[in-house]
Each structure stands twice: as structure tokens, then as C-alpha cells.
Amino acid sequence: MSQKFGWNWLGVVPFLAFALLFLMLPTMNIVIGAFRTPGGGFTLANVQGLFSPRIMSSFILSIQISAASALLGCLIGFAIAAAMVHGGLPKWLRGPITTFSGVASNFAGVPLAFAFIATLGRVGLVTMLLRDWFGINIYAMGFNLLSFWGLTLTYLFFQIPLMVLIITPALDGLKKEWREAAEVLGASGWQYWRMVALPVLFPSLLGTFALLFANSFGAIATAYALTGSTLSIVPIMLYAQIRGDVLQDPHLGYAMAFGMIVVTGAANLVYIILRTRAERWMR
């Protein structure tokens, strides 16, 4: 038996080699680089450099945008999925909504930025229609696509469908009998959601939030194509740093990348901790 086990691991060697070479070693290289002097010695100076006002503010902006788009994505996506699964909508709508969600969640990057420029940019369709038909000039009112809310609004285009795709199976997992049992015990619809459905869904909701957060935190293409480098979110600064060393300190780049891993890692750690607490009732 042990002899047999001794060779079985060989079957996953190609996969492990791939993961090591193209995922883990490169990441480790960055993490180690963040704590190294150009000469190869250990230092905390790079990480300290992260706390300069310029880099700090970019991290804060990135975290704000990611949290806002993840939170709104979760809320709206949940509303749509709940409407689709439990809201008494006709059954045939499900197929089209799911397929569309698959498309929209993958329609990220450069073309998404183009689409929003063409819609909500200064001469975009919706901007023009609002101005010409309703007399509302959203740009005069302070809206700007190249801003926090503009970027959040754009990110929602892939965040909401991603939420719909992930949460729909979880909603399907809510048994009809739970609702009926709650109802027959005298619970209102709201009481059922608060005491049964939401607690049951909580781990999935939390996991999706963490995923959506990481998803927008690491996104560059959309923001870059939308704003160029006017909006200094972390990934865009790192991108510029890698391309042309705009920070005049190559090792600050390592530190920024390390900071990104710390943020997404922390988001997932919080998720894992909350999940274990929320899942006491699970196997």
C-alpha cells in the first residue's frame, strides 16, 4: 500500500511543476523582492515606502472602488438572481439571463471601457439623450466617467453578472420546504429571509464578495483604457512602474505588488475566518 502511494504523486508532477514555475515562483520572487535592497540584503524600506502619501492614497482609492463595486455587485446581482429564482418570473427567462451573465462577466477589459465611453462619456448616447430629452446635463452636475463613481459603475458591468452566476446555484439550494415550514410556523417572508435564507446563503455571499473584490482590485485594462493614467489606482500605478519606472525606485514596484497580494490575501483571509464561523452548522 505504502509502496503504491510512493509513486502515485508522480501523476500530478506536471501540474505541480506548471503551478510552481508560472504561478508560485514568480509570486514568491516579487514577495522576496519587496524585502530586498538592490544589493541583495534584507530591508523594510521598500514596504515603508508604501506609506508615502501618493501610494497610500492610490491604495485607499483602489480599495474603495473595489469594495463599492463588489458590494453593489453583490446587492444588485443578488436581487436579480433572487428575482429569477424565487420571484415568480417566467421560467423561460432563466436561460437567457444565465447566458447573458456568462457573456457580460467575460466582457471586461478594453472593450468594456469603450462601451462606457460611447454611452456615458461626454458625447455618449445616454449623456446626449439625457441632455436633449430631459434637459439633464450629468457632466454639469459633476458626473465624470473618469472618476470613482464612473469606474465603479463600469466595473459593475462584469461584477453583477458574476454575482448572478455564482449565487444562482446557491439560491437553487434553498429548499422550497424551508420556506413553507417557516410560513406555516407563522413567519412572514421577511422573517424567513432573515432567520433562515440569508444565514444559509451567508457563506456563499461572503465568498462571492471576496471574489468580486479581488476581481476589481486586480483589474487594469478597463481602468487604463477608460482613464489612461488620470485615475491613480494601484494596478495602474504598478503598470506604469513596470513599463517605465515612474517612481524612480525599482524596488518600490515590488513593494506595491506585495501590497496588492496583502490586500487580496487579507480579503480572502477575512472571508475564510467568517466562513468557518458562519458554517458551524455545516459538516
Binding site: N8, W9, G11, V12, P14, F15, F18, A19, L21, F22, L23, M24, L25, P26, T27, M28, N29, I30, I80, A83, M84, H86, G87, G88, L89, L93, G95, T99, F100, G102, V103, A104, N106, G109, V110, P111, F114, A115, I117, A118, T119, L120, L125, V126, F157, G189, A214, N215, G218, A221, Y224, A225, P235, Y239, I242, R243, A257, M260, I261, T264
Partner: protein, 290 residues
């Protein structure tokens, strides 16, 4: 459109209620349905307006009338053809290599190393947590010309590096798709039955396992395609002439062509997802038919 439908539907149900001579006990139903339609319509507006806006914008190139000039301009651009061709080839290579890495691993883990599953699954989910820009930054440092594996030193080497990067990006989706596909068949019994008939490993994986998870593999393949075809960060930082960076450069320099490009990109994504759901449906029907 859908609002009209909903009012119509509510009218109809009202008629039915009148015939029954009273409201149904679940009067919360109408309320719930109202909010459902509201959520759907608001969502629908948010998702369709940008698409309509882009389409409209892409037709505006000629002053005063709608035309396909922007599309003509894009399609005639030799760089469009070159970069799209490059990305298509990269996508196909990514799919092939991805299948070669993922299918045997998922199969082997299910067959012989069930205790390793959490570890392997954890690794496959890492790309969702580690931002792609960090990984590609690592590539540039790790595989530079003076390293143990100087992949960025040659064009071919960089292409291969980019391809592996794409396999890594698509890993969470492909692995999950294939693993789900494998869960629907009894891997162990099938393998033992084939072995008892004297089949070789190549035969077992190629003739037995692959056809059974074909739908799942194709799902993973179309997803990979959709991810790779417009990918920007990795291709841009590795300086490869891919479709994503081309779109970005065009967007920075032109007005109407980007909208046309966005429409084309959306159509490509749609085609991928359409094929994906078609394949899942066909394989599901085939399985139900057995």
C-alpha cells in the same frame, strides 16, 4: 418591452383571479413579482444601454448619417488582422496546453490521490486571488535574460511564457469545469473496467475519459478563449502584439473605431458563450438520453 409583457401578464392573471372569485391566499406573490420585474428591468436597462450606446456610437463616424465606416476602417487595418490572428493562435494554444495539464491531473487526483484534492483545488483558485499584474511582474523578473530560464530573451520564448500565463489565468475555470464533468461519471469503475480489458493509459484517457467529459472540456475551452482573446495586462507587459494592447492603443488615438471594436469583441464573447451553452445543453441531452 419586458415592462409591457409584465403588465400584460398581470392583466391576464387579474382576469384569472376574477374568474376564481377572490384573491389567492398568497397575496404576497403579486408584491414579490412586482419587485422581481423591477429588479430585472433596472438590470436590463443598465446592461443594454451600454451595448446600444456602443452600437450607435460605432455607426456615427460619417457626419450626419449612420454608416459602417468605423467597421470598414477597423477591418481594413492590417494590425487588426495581425493582432487578432495572434490572439486567436494564442487562445488555441492555451486551450490545448490547458487541456493537457488539467484533464490528466483532475483525473489522476480523483482516481488515486483523493486526499490531495483540497491542495490541488487551492492551487487552482490562487489565480483568482493573486492579481495577474503581480504574476506577470514576477515573470519579467524571474525569466529575464540572465536567469536560469531566459524565456523573455527570445520572441518564441516570450510567446510560450505568455501562453503559460494564459493557462494560469484560465486555470480556475478550466479545472473546475473538468472536475465537475468528472464528478458525473464513476472514474474508478470506468478505469478498472478498462484496465481489466487490457486498455493502456493513453487509451483510457483518450478514448474513455475525454469523451465522457467532452462537454466540460469544451466549456473550459470556450471560457479560456473568451479570456485570452482580449487580454491586455500580460500581453502588454510582455510586449507581445496581441489584440488587447492593440485595442487599447486604438482607443487612445481614435474616436469611433474603438466602439466598432467593442461591438466586435462583444460579438466574439457572445459567440464563445453561445457555443458554451450549446455544448453543455447537447452533452446534457446526450447524457439524459442514455
Amino acid at each position: 418591452m419586458s415592462f409591457l409583457l409584465s403588465t400584460l401578464r398581470r392583466r391576464l392573471s387579474l382576469k384569472r383571479l376574477q374568474r376564481r372569485g377572490g384573491p389567492r391566499p398568497k397575496s404576497g406573490n403579486g408584491f414579490r413579482r412586482f419587485w422581481s420585474w423591477t429588479a430585472l428591468i433596472v438590470g436590463g436597462l443598465y446592461f443594454f444601454l451600454p451595448l446600444i450606446g456602443t452600437l450607435e456610437f460605432s455607426l456615427r463616424m460619417r457626419r450626419g448619417e449612420y454608416s459602417l465606416d468605423a467597421y470598414r476602417s477597423v477591418l481594413e487595418d492590417p494590425r487588426f488582422q495581425q493582432t487578432l490572428g495572434y490572439s486567436v493562435i494564442m487562445a488555441l494554444a492555451t486551450i490545448v496546453v490547458g487541456i493537457l495539464i488539467v484533464v490528466p491531473t483532475a483525473y489522476w487526483v480523483r482516481l488515486r490521490l483523493p486526499r490531495w484534492r483540497p491542495v490541488i483545488e487551492f492551487i487552482t483558485l490562487l489565480p483568482l486571488v493573486i492579481p495577474a499584474i503581480v504574476v506577470v511582474f514576477g515573470y519579467i523578473r524571474l525569466f529575464n535574460t540572465s536567469s536560469f530560464l531566459p524565456m523573455t530573451g527570445t520572441t518564441m520564448g516570450t510567446n510560450i511564457l505568455l501562453m503559460f500565463g494564459y493557462v494560469m489565468l484560465a486555470l480556475p475555470y478550466t479545472y473546475r469545469a473538468v472536475d465537475t464533468g468528472l464528478s458525473t461519471i464513476d472514474v474508478r469503475s470506468l478505469t478498472e473496467a478498462a484496465q481489466s480489458l487490457g486498455a493502456s493509459w493513453v487509451t483510457i484517457i483518450g478514448r474513455l475519459i475525454l469523451p465522457n467529459v467532452f462537454g466540460a472540456v469544451m466549456s473550459g475551452a470556450f471560457l479560456s478563449f473568451a479570456i485570452v482573446i482580449g487580454e491586455f495586462t500580460m500581453a502588454s507587459l510582455l510586449n507581445r502584439p496581441a489584440f488587447g494592447p492593440y485595442m487599447q492603443i486604438l482607443g487612445a488615438n481614435r474616436a469611433y473605431e474603438p466602439a466598432a471594436l467593442a461591438v466586435i469583441a462583444f460579438a466574439i464573447t457572445w459567440a464563445c458563450m453561445g457555443l458554451l451553452s450549446l455544448v453543455t445543453r447537447i452533452t446534457r441531452v446526450g447524457r439524459a438520453g442514455k
